[in-house]
């Protein structure tokens, strides 16, 4: 009943705009996940698209082979990516900075080659993904997921765990001497980031209906990193804005035809020169809202009133 109503609603939207709208949603999911790893925890990852591909192929195969209900499929895809995140994070998160970046890059390339050679992923031909049976239309699914991921990220960043992740970014050794199990926390952050990338990948596979390992290469990872850096490392509203802008910019710039990507590149360069911390880096949305409403921002709630986690870990 409701599903039918929503279906009609979605059909009212022009297919072109609907596609962009969904692309923005998926980009936001991807950017929020990477923001937790790179922006909040400070671990530079150049392989975020690899986790997206794990989610995409897991989702596609589960739909094709098992016809699994989509919600369950989505969760399985996320979990599969998270599992890979833990397995790969365990050895490489001991590295720092540039070394970690190179290791994540290497992981992504290896995974791409594996996916290009497996029978189950149909090798270089890629997979056509049938439309899943969903109670509500897929675009709405995508945006529901966006909202859930957004809410989860806000909760995580304002929790004790989130504060510990930021401490790791600021000074890993100092965080360690404060009693933070930094290796464990970095792996957890990495796994959560991979989980959201898995969700994004699964949604992408079913919406685009065709996936190929080459869709999730280095340039895709860099695209996602651009969104996070452009929005402002560590800023949730920044990631949302960065993902939205960078997904829509090539569309806005369509009138420039073949100069489009050149202008796109120049935009990035100028933004980094004039806003090196990103568009919303260091900007407190809360304070801005308070200012606009003409009220004085009160103190932020301390963690022990928000957090339900016990000490340890």
């Amino acid at each position: 009943m409701i599903g039918e109503y929503l279906e009609n609603l979605v059909n009212l939207v022009d297919a072109y705009y609907l596609q962009i709208f969904v692309n923005i949603g998926i980009a936001i999911i991807m950017a929020l996940g990477l923001n937790l790893v790179t922006g909040v925890t400070g671990q530079l990852s150049l392989g975020h698209a690899a986790f997206m591909s794990i989610g995409a192929f897991t989702g596609a195969i589960l739909t094709i082979k098992l016809g699994m209900p989509f919600s369950l499929n989505l969760i399985c895809s996320g979990l599969m990516a998270a599992l890979c995140g833990v397995v790969i994070g365990f050895p490489i998160l001991r590295l720092s900075g540039d070394y970690l970046a190179i290791a994540t890059l290497g992981f992504a390339e290896i995974l791409k080659v594996i996916l290009l050679n497996l029978d189950i992923t149909n090798r270089a031909l890629g997979l056509s993904v049938p439309l899943p049976h969903t109670p509500i239309p897929l675009p709405i699914y995508v945006w529901l997921t966006v909202l859930l991921v957004l809410a989860a990220m806000v909760l995580i960043q304002n929790s004790r765990f989130g504060r510990a992740l930021r401490a790791i970014r600021e000074d890993e050794i100092a965080a360690e001497t404060m009693g933070v199990n930094t290796t464990l926390y970095k792996i957890q952050a990495f796994a959560i980031g991979a989980f959201t990338a898995g969700l994004g990948g699964c949604l992408y596979a079913h919406f685009i209906a065709y996936i190929n390992p080459s869709d999730f290469g280095f340039s895709k990872s860099v695209d996602i990193l651009n969104m996070v850096v452009l929005g402002g490392l560590g800023s949730i509203p920044g990631s949302v804005l960065g993902a939205t802008l960078l997904t829509t910019a090539p569309e806005f710039l369509r009138f420039m035809e073949r100069y489009r990507m050149m202008v796109y590149g120049a935009l990035l360069v100028f933004l980094m020169i004039f806003r090196p911390n990103g568009l919303l880096g260091g900007v407190s949305i809360r304070k801005l809202v308070c200012k606009a409403l003409g009220i004085k921002p009160g103190p932020r709630k301390p963690w022990h009133r928000i957090s339900t986690r016990k000490a340890g870990g």
Partner: protein, 234 residues
Amino acid sequence: MLTVENLTVNYGAIRALNGISLDVREGEIVALIGSNGAGKTTTLNAISGVLPITAGTIRFMGRDITHLPPHQITALGIVHVPEGRRVFPRMTVMENLEMGAYTCSDKETVRKGFKEVFQWFPRLEERKRQLAATLSGGEQQMLAMGRALMARPKLMLMDEPSMGLAPMLVDEIFKIIQAINAKGTTILLVEQNAHLALSIAHRAFVLETGEMVLSGSAAELANNPEVRKAYLGE
């Protein structure tokens, strides 16, 4: 309380500490003095678990902590105030202090911790919403100490608290260190300014290129002709 025996630490092929031993008894201020590169900071880093240990044992309150990871050592009650303070620059003073109380799950204790830290360092309360990066050097040292106190340590390892501070501030910081000790926290202090360190310590150890060359009560060492010549500038 803390016993270090035959501690050896290597940085790759370079030996930084060559089988040193020292002990800290409950309630003491123990100073570890020596010139640049003697291995003072290495000793503290090895105790707090930040550095891997090549040989030797470290025991704390009867427990072998030689190969425990840093976060477990912190949980046992050893808190390190590292060299160069290492506050979290893009976090507020409050958040830094909250990080200090990381091992503490009881909110009542955390609240009491805040109250105490602000009593020791009223300046921090004035600046509690400021980012740590915007504090002066002295304030950052106070924040690093306050952050360590939030963990309610049994033993505080302090690395060069006087580094880069104006003489007046140094006096203030050292008075506070003495007061913290008087309230029951044991302190192991690394300091290049031997004069200052010996003036507040009960006992002291002298490190020279990775070897422990002298030890004794602070008064004894302050009168030792060799120490006077090498470290007190006479």
